[in-house]
């Protein structure tokens, strides 16, 4: 039994291809049924996000299942197998598990350490479990992936720090004001980035919003969209007294905000802190404003350097995350390896049970005078004896499998106990996916 991962992501495929192979949550059940219907997957799940679509499978024949997975992706993309092949990566055995763990930890993401992927991994495995597409192996793999993803975020700094300009700006505002509820925002100019920052600030709970633009209609439209109030561009400095956060992004070649009006505003504000975000290039706010007491000015370069710093810190943390992944992988592989012992253990169980039943039947034939209670007592005693006798060989089999024992050693055990060969016993189609006896 093998684990495979076949997929494409932002590193291997352009967005035009990624968007064709991705699918909505509602489609998942049908997709899984289609994959299982190909007959090469004993268990399967599909992870589909905006940056990746990956098929994970527990399979008997790696080559056939990879071919099927590629064909499936090609069908989704309405492309040839050859085209898809050039964008697809394939991981087998422990590499497949390691890849899933890296994905769950966020170190394979476009933005390292992003947390959404862990939820997406968990939901993919849960949805597959609901659809009956995963059983013991992939369910356990999914559990280990979720576990290592959580550990990566709690035991390392892989998810620490904001990594987008707008969220970094909101984070800085929170460092000044704490809870942003009730704080007032003034947006001067209307650029894509300033709107995005304003959206983040609204999500964080800011109170009233003032919008100012050289074109009054644009200011009105933006104010209407965000539930704010438009103020004349010529007099936006009058409002510096009442607001706490100012975002500027105009196309002005000269600074629109200089220290002088700010000094007057600070005096009128009774030194209440004022947080200024200048996203414009060239800058809208004179750099000297940043030297004023109780004024905190951040321009686009400052925000970028904060984001870059957080990203480099996350990059540095990947070493620790890889160590966690290796540890988790070793644990999973030990368990997975143990599955190889399952058929032999099941055979041993069956053989000992058969012997017990035979001896019990013979005894009951020879001693028909036994009462119901006596017969039950004998049955219980024989059961206990069987359990005691079988414990040592089961333990030995498990240890031998974990220590990569040769097939000959396992054959020897079969011979000793008079068991049929492994090939004769293994059920066709679903090898190794049986529940492990406790």
């Amino acid at each position: 039994m093998h684990i495979v991962a076949v997929g494409l992501n932002h590193k291997t495929a352009p967005v035009e291809l990624r968007e064709r192979v991705s699918f909505a949550e509602a489609e998942l059940s049908g997709v899984l049924t289609s994959l299982l219907g190909r007959g090469t997957f004993a268990e399967t799940t599909v992870l589909s996000t905006c940056n990746r679509t990956e098929v994970y499978g527990c399979v008997a024949d790696v080559d056939r299942s990879v071919t099927d997975a590629v064909a499936f992706l090609a069908e989704r993309a309405r492309a040839t197998n050859g085209t898809i092949r050039s964008h697809v990566y394939v991981y087998e055995h422990a590499d497949a598990s390691r890849h899933l763990f890296r994905v769950a930890c966020g170190i394979d993401s476009m933005v390292i350490g992003e947390s959404q992927i862990l939820t997406q991994v968990r939901e993919a495995f849960e949805a597959a479990a609901d659809a009956g597409a995963v059983r013991t192996v992939l369910r356990t793999l999914g559990r280990h992936a979720t576990e290592v993803g959580k550990r990566a975020r709690s035991e390392t700094d892989i998810g620490v720090g904001r990594v987008s300009i707008s969220s970094a700006a909101v984070d800085l505002a929170k460092n000044v004001f704490g809870d942003l509820a009730g704080h007032r925002v003034l947006v001067v100019g209307a650029g894509e980035m300033s709107e995005l920052t304003l959206t983040h600030l609204i999500d964080a709970g800011v109170g009233s919003i003032l919008v100012s633009n050289r074109t009054a209609e644009k200011a009105e439209a933006l104010a209407q969209r965000f539930g704010g109030t438009a103020v004349p561009f010529e007099r936006f400095t009058d409002h510096l007294v009442e607001v706490d956060i100012v975002i500027t992004q105009t196309g002005s070649p000269e600074p629109i905000l200089t220290p002088r009006p700010l000094q007057l505003a600070i005096r009128a504000r009774r030194s209440r802190p004022l947080f200024l975000i200048d996203i414009a290039v060239p800058r809208d706010i004179d750099a000297a404003v940043g030297d004023l007491p109780n004024v905190f000015l951040f321009d686009i370069d400052d925000l970028k350097s904060i984001v870059d710093h957080h990203l480099s810190e996350r990059e540095a943390e990947t070493v620790k995350v890889e160590a966690l992944i290796s540890h988790q992988l070793a644990e999973f592989n030990r368990w997975f390896k143990g599955l190889e012992a399952v058929p032999l253990i099941q055979q041993l169980e069956a053989e000992f049970e058969r012997l017990r039943q035979d001896e019990l039947a013979r005894l009951l034939r020879k001693a028909p005078a036994l009462t119901q209670e006596q017969a039950e007592a004998v049955d219980a005693a024989m059961y206990r004896l069987k359990q005691k006798l079988i414990r040592a060989p089961i333990r030995a089999v498990r240890q031998l499998v974990e220590n990569d024992a040769d097939a000959e050693v396992l054959s020897l055990i079969r011979e000793v106990y008079g068991l049929p060969g492994a090939d004769e016993e293994r059920p066709e189609g679903q090898p190794g996916t049986a529940e492990v006896p406790s």
Binding site: F177, G178, P273, P293, N294, D302
Partner: protein, 269 residues
Amino acid sequence: MSALRPCLILAACSYLTAALCYHGRWPVRAQRAKTWATILAGIGIAANLGALVAATADVGDWPLLTLRQTLVLFAVAVPAAYLIVLRREPIGLGVFTCAVAVAAVGGSLMVPDAAPVKQFDSRALLLVHIVVAVVAYAAFGLAACCGAAYLCKEALLKRKRLTGFGTRLPSLETAEILGYRLAGFGFVLWTLMLAVSIWYTARVTGDFWGWTPKQTWSLVTWAVYAAYLHARMVSHYRGRATVGLLVAGFVCACTTYVIANYLGDPHHL
């Protein structure tokens, strides 16, 4: 042999290590810093309480009648109040509170032991005066910690270097509000302590006010906090200068507490 000194040394070491943990870089990772720092601060508080018990056993009386003894009480009050009142705030604040506790324990180890202050007719009044004063010092100490956290964070924001320790400090507004509330609480107690002091002095000496160094500095401290509260409450001032008054007020309080004792005061030893 008295257990006072070993207990104080253990408390100082625990507070110091807790301060390092609250910083969040070393010796434990930021994610576990709060747990370890809380445990260490708890050990420090336990050792500090042990020192109070030892001091009680040593003198056979309330351990509140010398500067050294009250410093032991002050040292336990600051981190204990932090763990109770400010435990939900970002852990960076703990660095300052534990530093104050270390300084107080260090002070109690260094100041020479003096004979207990003379007790006149009203022992209860004297004890109320001392306990209220120590609690007020602790409130001012915590307020100054909030002020220091504010100034530290403001400097980091100004330099645009808000990483590591800076992220573990409370926001400017939070630090400012906490400092204001604690200073307000301390000011009420300080005023009460001054009133009791005037009453007690009048009963003992027949004179309400003697302009001793201790009295003078306590009045200066009261005036600084009164100015701060007026600026904050009545004039609605905020920002660095106002917060700076919290730190300046605590410097005056420390002068009143420790230095004024060495400037010639017969009633504070």
